[in-house]
């Protein structure tokens, strides 16, 4: 047996982990709850609790073992479940809150930090279960710790359900109000989607789609720091060369996700689903997507040229990643969550990055307006209008878009909110002062778009 790797290759891997924050962001176990439905609420709670705690009993342990064996940190171990509005369609608002608490208890028992799937898919309209779930969201998120919620309000095939969009503005505001003492953290656990993927491992938008198997293991990779390092070290590269360098780096990052996913899947006896090819930043210095854009030659993220830089980055990550993995899915793209990215935070604080520019950036990357703190006096209609804009981008461009905004109760533009941990903290960003109320209150659906005549 001889060493088949060059020392440079081995050292590069170690460097990526030690100094460039290479990690596996999450291994997420999807669990179907479709067989847990029961007319008796107590029995249903028991079934859900048992299924989750049995399925994911070893998830955290296996994650920790893999981390030790391979020397690559796995930051989060998480769970996604079938959208609760489907599983618990017969329940009322109070019943939905009880299910959320059951999910929370199960998540804590197995030691995961988030559980996604307190969700509803309402792009075409609302069932009774959807209505009950949506009404229950603020209380459910305020009274649980780990539960995450998402609502899909539009799709390219169905159009945008503007009635649901109008409701979500108020639901987000109420979620923030109920947790105002914690800077509105409930709203940070709530995502509004257009074209939501069914196999996304990332929170807060993860849920286990109805087309998924009984159980599945999905992996979300990370690594903005590794890409930033490569871009920084090649200031003279032209765009073709730069794209190539990013592709090669994305390949390596994604291979780690593939390896970990396969190993975890084998050890847990759960089928391997997908690798989500994402650049997911953290608040840590050197783990920022904004920094990559700045190393490309922009003085600050958000200035003219940012959308083009992000388009190149996002596409190169996908090209490199797609070759590295047998199955790619989820959100797959660069994330631009403001509060979770030190470079984005700085750009907002210095006035370089605005809500409008962030919206433009979401046209070319995953996934949407993410972790953005809004002034506390924002109206529900303005939040709904922000959601409508973002959903329109997703619907027309056949991509996933999302909105996760946090109204900062009692605060105004320029103040700061702190969520702590991976969620970070952020400056409150300005919204337009002009009203969208009349528009939002029209009601009905925005029709699905024509997909030919593509200009």
């Amino acid at each position: 047996m001889t060493i088949t790797f060059a020392p440079e290759e081995i050292l590069q891997t170690i460097e990526m982990v030690r100094n460039e924050n290479l990690d596996i962001r999450t291994i997420t176990m999807g669990i179907s709850l479709l067989d847990c439905t029961d007319q008796d609420l107590k029995r249903m709670e028991r079934k859900i609790y048992d299924k989750i705690t049995q399925s994911a009993a070893n998830l955290v342990k296996v994650g920790n073992n893999l981390e030790a064996r391979y020397g690559i940190p796995i930051i989060n171990k998480r769970i996604s479940v079938t959208p609760v509005a489907i599983v618990a369609a017969h329940l009322d608002q109070d019943g939905m809150v009880r299910i959320a608490k059951t999910l929370d208890a199960a998540a804590r028992e197995v030691g995961v930090n988030f559980l996604g799937g307190f969700s509803a898919l309402v792009q075409k309209g609302l069932t009774n279960g959807d209505k009950a779930l949506m009404r229950a969201i603020p209380q459910a998120l305020a009274e649980t710790e780990t539960v995450c919620s998402s609502v899909n309000i539009g799709s390219t095939k169905a159009g945008i359900n503007m009635d649901a969009v109008a409701d979500m503005g108020g639901i987000i505001l109420e979620s923030a109000r109920l947790t105002a003492v914690k800077d509105g953290i409930a709203a940070a656990k709530l995502v509004v989607f257009c074209n939501a993927p069914e196999d996304n491992p990332f929170m807060a938008g993860a849920f286990h789609g109805v087309g998924e198997p009984e159980r599945v293991l999905n992996v979300g990779v990370s690594g903005p720091g590794v890409v930033a390092h490569v871009v920084k070290n090649n200031p003279e590269a032209n765009f073709g060369e730069l794209a190539n360098l990013i592709k090669r780096t994305a390949f390596k990052i994604t291979r780690m996700g593939e390896l970990m996913g396969r190993a975890a899947s084998a050890e847990l006896g759960v089928p391997f689903g997908i690798v989500d090819l994402s650049l997911a930043p953290t608040p840590a210095v050197g783990d920022s997507v904004a920094e990559i854009l700045e190393f490309m030659g922009l003085e600050r993220a958000g200035t003219h040229g940012t959308t083009a830089a992000l388009a190149l980055l996002n596409d190169a990550v996908k090209k490199g990643g797609a070759m590295a993995s047998s199955h790619v899915g989820g959100l797959s793209g660069a994330f631009i969550p403001v509060s979770e990215d030190a470079g984005m935070i700085r750009a907002v604080e210095e006035g370089a990055l605005t809500l409008d520019k962030l919206e433009a950036m979401t046209c070319v990357c995953s996934v949407g307006l993410d972790m953005i703190a809004l002034p506390g006096d924002v109206t529900p209609e303005t939040i709904s209008a922000i959601i409508a804009d973002e959903a329109a981008i997703g619907m027309i461009n056949k991509k996933t878009t999302a909105v996760r905004v946090i109204p900062a109760i009692g605060k105004k533009a320029g103040d700061r909110v702190e969520f702590g941990g991976l969620l970070g903290g952020a400056p409150v960003i300005e919204v337009h002062p002009f009203s969208s109320t009349q528009f939002v209150r029209r009601g009905g659906r925005i029709p699905a778009p024509i997909t030919s005549l593509s200009n």
Partner: protein, 95 residues
């Protein structure tokens, strides 16, 4: 290249050159019944760099536990010591 097919690890030792590095590492490995398959040693980026391929199929402890021992004892000697399953490198650097 599945993890079930092999139980080989790559040990890397980085740091300032000093007497007894190899003796110490190979001692630790022998203590835990880990067989050394290959060693390479270079000075890279001004650092003493040693890379070992080891076989853990006869090992009395898990790779994760061995990693902790090597890391903490290495730190005391001013060395950065890692052991990782070889699949990490195969996956990352080979198509």
């Amino acid at each position: 290249m599945g993890s079930d097919k092999s139980n080989r690890g790559i040990v890397t030792v980085l740091g300032k050159d000093q007497i007894g590095i190899i003796a110490w590492v190979s001692g630790k490995l022998a203590e835990n019944k880990v067989n050394i398959l290959d060693i390479s040693q270079t000075i890279l980026q001004d650092f003493f760099t040693m890379i070992m391929v080891v076989d853990l199929s006869t090992s009395v402890i898990e790779m994760g536990e061995l990693a902790v021992i090597l890391r903490t004892e290495g730190q005391a000697r001013g060395l950065q010591v890692n052991i990782q399953h070889e699949d990490v490198f195969t996956y990352m650097h080979r198509v």
